[in-house]
């Protein structure tokens, strides 16, 4: 069923990147393929699917490791020496930014050798059994069977032949195990494994959106929801061509979302969205305050516990931004004023002190300077990450340095210049009054009502947001969190962030036809787990735009 697209409930400007032509990956990005019309009228969505761009994507380290572990049982963290993926919009799944480098190619060679050597040494009988002793036949069977899993589809004859030739040559000079290893090394470095390929099929001249083939849908589905290769069930469904309808797809998507990999994927999305991946080695300091050892890692686990419960157990947007819980273990609990008697991480209620995700200790620590709070970081972060509202950067001539802590003043007083100087005020009225709303949380994430013996004033204001009901003064974090928890643009933004993570790129005009219904449903339901599910079921996920074959020549 196609959802009605009108009436629109939110202004568009808040959710789509403004087509300023100055952001890579934006609709005007000159590097992207020129296959989509510049403007998509909403009426066009009714006429049929309008998928956004679908560029070739290189596996992330996580996807590589999961695939190898699931297909070959090799859990050796094979990608450990790969360089980290370049990130775009905060996510490492970017099709444009994550690219091959000499180091990556060299390390992929080493990784493939390591995996292959370990595999034939420890589980040759499971991966490439050859009870008959007819090694040629067994090798061919291995290439077909493991190839089908690694390439996420049956090999075409030409592909199979290349590997078989390699296997045969190796077998002439070496053992069966060795020949299997050599073939496996090549398969693990083949682009059909390393890239998520959606090939152009006959008749090769494409007009209009193309429904993906069953194996391609299976691949998109599994790498999005489980960050791994399709499992046997999914490959079987693809073989039966049982992924073409929305119902069939939904059944598989719901199944995948039950798997442990899906929980990891959601946690990975949250860590990237919230930018807490670097929190592990954080240094926060103040005379007389000693946080527990590995403070940053503990906070990461605390936030992961909170997000896990919010997504999988409570499951609603409103709870995510209003819960009074934080997650503590025996080490963190005393630091935050609670009894240490607990095993692992569990929830603690702080009814008058915590107001959902915005006030989680990990986030407050991540958005702080080592020796003081950071109202500017906090204000910018809230607007960009939770409202998808881009804040203009300061002019290059401004020397932006936080004022030194002053034992006689509050942070708020020290930042007053931002809003008193007319030049600074033009942007900082958008930022600082938001950040001041978090002044109840120090650089250790602890709740405070006093700073340097002076009372904390955590009142503030949201200004100039497209969702006008958000704008206006608030009295403190409780009211700020309450406003975000009821915000339509914050809901749209979360759906947008998921969409960027899933699509591996910024949303474009063409994505509106898929993204708007997802946002509309999320506005109505507020159900967090429905967002990735609905993305997986969207037209953007099932179709791709028409492409011109490389060189325009038919093979």
């Amino acid at each position: 069923m196609r959802l009605p697209l009108a009436p629109l409930t939110v202004p568009l400007l808040g959710t789509w990147l403004v087509a300023s032509g100055c952001q890579k990956g934006s609709p005007d990005d000159a590097s992207g393929p020129k296959t989509e019309p510049a403007v998509i009228a909403f009426a066009d969505c009714q006429a049929g699917p309008v998928p956004g761009d679908a560029p070739l994507r290189l596996l992330t380290r996580r996807a590589y490791d999961n695939s190898v572990a699931d297909i070959l049982g090799d859990v050796g963290n094979a990608s450990a020496a790969f360089p980290p993926e370049n990130q775009l919009l905060g996510f490492n799944t970017s099709a444009e930014a994550h690219q091959a480098s000499p180091l990556l190619v060299s390390e992929m060679l080493s990784a493939a050798e390591g995996i292959a050597e370990r595999t034939v040494a420890t589980k040759l009988d499971q991966v490439a059994p050859c009870a008959s002793g007819a090694t040629m036949d067994c090798g061919a069977e291995f290439v077909r069977e493991i190839g089908r899993k690694l390439f996420r589809r049956p090999l075409v004859a030409a592909e199979e032949l290349v590997f078989l030739r390699l296997f045969t040559e190796a077998l002439e000079q070496n053992s069966y195990a060795n020949a299997i290893s050599v073939a496996l090394q090549a398969m693990l470095q083949a682009p059909q494994f390393l890239y998520r390929v959606e090939s152009i099929r006959p008749p090769l001249v494409e007009s209009g959106p193309q429904l993906l083939g069953p194996y391609e849908i299976a691949t998109r589905l599994s790498y999005f929801l489980t960050e791994s290769a399709p499992d046997d069930t999914l490959l079987e469904a693809a073989a039966q061509n049982a992924l073409g309808t929305r119902d069939e797809l939904e059944m598989q998507a719901r199944r995948l979302l039950q798997l442990p990999h899906a929980r990891s994927m959601v946690a990975n999305f949250h860590a990237q969205w919230l930018g807490t991946e670097e929190l592990g080695r954080v240094i926060r300091e103040q005379a007389g305050v000693t946080p527990p050892a590995n403070f940053g890692s503990l906070l990461q686990a605390s936030l992961a516990g909170y997000m896990d419960a919010a997504f999988w157990e409570k499951g609603t947007f409103e709870n995510l931004f209003s819960s009074d819980e934080i997650f503590l273990d025996a080490k963190l609990a005393p630091f935050f004023g609670h009894a240490a008697t607990r095993e692992g991480f569990s929830a603690v209620s702080e009814p008058t002190q915590r107001f959902g995700l915005l006030t989680q200790p990990a986030l407050m620590v991540a958005l702080a300077h080592p020796n003081q709070t950071a109202p500017v970081f906090r204000g910018v972060f809230l607007r960009q990450h939770f409202l998808c509202n881009e804040v203009p950067p300061p002019p290059p001539t401004v020397n932006a340095v936080a004022p030194e802590p002053d034992p006689k003043a509050t942070t708020r007083e020290r930042f007053r210049q931002h809003t008193e100087s007319p030049v600074c005020a033009s942007c900082h009225t958008l930022i600082d009054p938001v950040g001041f709303g978090f002044e109840n949380y120090d650089q250790f994430g602890r709740f405070r009502t006093e700073e340097n013996g002076l009372p904390v004033d955590a009142s503030g204001a949201l200004n100039d947001l497209p969702e006008t009901s958000l704008n206006g003064p608030f009295s403190g974090p409780a009211e700020l969190a309450q406003r975000i928890s009821q915000s339509t643009s914050a809901r749209d933004c979360l759906a947008t962030q998921w969409y960027r993570f899933a699509a591996g790129r910024a949303e474009t005009a063409a994505d509106r036809c898929s993204l708007r219904p997802i946002q509309a449903e999320f506005q109505a339901s507020g159900a967090l787990p429905e967002v990735p599910l609905k993305i997986a079921l969207s037209d953007a996920f099932r179709y791709r735009p028409p492409y011109v074959l490389n060189g325009g020549v038919k093979p």
């Binding site: 952001q23 890579k24 370049n86 060679l109 030739r165 080695r281 910018v380």
Partner: protein, 442 residues
């Protein structure tokens, strides 16, 4: 006393062992003309001018080294200080000063637009051009196993502030932060017997041949945009394959070090050992002619790191923002840079111990040390703290403190190309390209 390469030893390090002569390591005799080599070195957040630039200067060749470079006293005759060279190209393009500075440092280019944020919310992308080391590697590094070796300490993030080397516009080369990974890449197969090494090479070639055939099959099924991406990857596979044979026949007589321990690349206590090992492995890679171009990035501008082994407990970026009169903070910065000089001095000593031709590997190596700003507290992008170590024979006479009075640093980068006999007429952003730095080269 100079030692032959096979006897390469590093006294202070204690981790090197001289190996018995191995078949695989003496396939070729030492090359007729010693190779030329380049190293880029980067330290963040500028410097303290009063402790960096030479003092008691009476002429361009008569001066005393300042505090920071005191550990390099024995190499003074090989040092060239370049005063008055500006990062003029940072006047164009997006980004904050640290981003603009590091992006342009060795590329001479502005930044692309993009989504990386600096600490103040300013956004930018990658640098918009190839870096000078890669241009030079294309000339001097064609026949060695590894085109270039990008190394870093505490630069693990994947953004513009953690990259100094670029294969081309928007194509940064990620560095390796972990010595164990460097070791595995460089040395893990160095001492395998020659017949086994030949088998490994033969096997890798057939594997990569198959891989390349798969690329050919796949490229015929995708859009031209995707085919470009595949072609780029394929060219890297081809390059890797073309260098496989070099790994057996590189010909250098060299020693294999002991494998280092596994280390947390962002660990605070590990950092000095990581920097030391990177320099040591780079010297060994040169001794073995595994590569001829390297770079070492010693952390990033905004990573707020401490140097507790020096008693320096301030956060790097915060320290660099301290006022000129804050002597305690400035002393910490000077202490850190003095330590950088000390590490550099060990590296130069290592190169000097590798006999080569009539002299040593140091005679054929050029190291360029730079930072992305000159004064951290003002984010100044003029009068950058450039120092060159090494003379490339007599191409860049050392023992000099030259003044260039606001020359754009693209002139320096072009001079570097010419020092390596790369005949290009300009380098970097065309609006800022205006020939060599006058008088730098002989």
């Amino acid at each position: 006393m100079k030692l032959g390469r096979r006897h390469f030893l590093h006294g202070a390090a204690g981790t090197l062992v001289a190996l018995p002569m191995l078949d695989s390591l003496q396939v070729n005799a030492q090359p007729a003309a010693p190779p030329k080599r380049l190293v880029l070195m980067y330290t963040p957040n500028g410097t303290i001018q009063d402790a960096w630039w030479p003092k008691n200067v009476t002429s361009p060749t008569a001066f005393d080294l300042n505090t920071i470079h005191a550990p390099l006293e024995s190499h003074k005759s090989r040092l060239t200080f370049l005063g008055g060279v500006d990062l003029a190209v940072t006047g164009v393009g997006p980004g904050g000063p640290h981003q603009r500075g590091i992006g342009s440092l060795f590329t001479g280019r502005e930044l692309q637009v993009g989504q990386f944020l600096d600490g103040c919310g300013r956004a930018a992308g990658w640098a918009n051009g190839i870096s000078v080391d890669q241009r030079i590697a294309a000339e001097v590094g064609a026949s060695v196993p590894i085109k270039s070796l990008e190394l870093a300490a505490r630069s693990t993030q994947a953004d513009v502030q953690a990259r100094i080397s670029y294969a081309g516009p928007g194509s940064p080369l990620p560095p390796t932060n972990t010595p164990l990974e460097v070791y595995n890449r460089l040395f893990s197969r160095l001492d395998v017997p020659v017949n086994v090494a030949a088998q490994v090479i033969a096997r890798r070639k057939s594997v990569l041949d198959s891989v390349q055939q798969q690329y050919a099959i796949l490229k015929a099924q995708v859009s031209s945009h995707d085919a470009e991406k595949l072609e780029k990857h394929l060219s890297l596979v081809r390059d890797l394959e073309s260098r496989l044979s070099a790994s057996a026949g590189g010909g250098a007589i060299c020693a294999k070090p002991m494998p280092p321990l596994s280390q947390d690349p962002e660990g605070e206590p590990e950092m000095p050992e990581i920097v030391r090992l990177h320099f040591e492995f780079l010297a060994l890679a040169f001794a073995c002619d595994l590569t001829r171009v390297g770079s070492l990035q010693i952390s990033t501008a905004l990573n707020r790191i401490r140097y507790p082994w020096l008693g320096s407990l301030g956060n790097g970026h915060t320290l660099s923002h301290s006022g000129d009169s804050d002597t305690a903070a400035n002393t910490e910065i000077v202490t850190r840079h003095t330590w950088h000089s000390q590490m550099l001095a060990h590296f130069l000593d290592s190169l000097a111990a590798i006999a080569e031709g009539e002299g040593s590997a140091l005679d054929n190596t050029l190291l360029v040390w730079g930072s992305e700003v000159s004064k951290g507290n003002l984010h100044t992008l003029t009068n950058m703290p450039w120092v060159i170590a090494g003379t490339l024979g007599s191409r860049i006479p050392g023992g000099r403190y030259l003044q260039f009075n606001g020359a754009p640093h693209s002139q320096l980068l072009l001079s570097l190309l010419h020092a390596f006999d790369v005949a290009d007429n300009s380098f970097g952003h065309p609006d800022y390209a205006s020939g060599e730095l006058p008088g730098l080269l002989t």
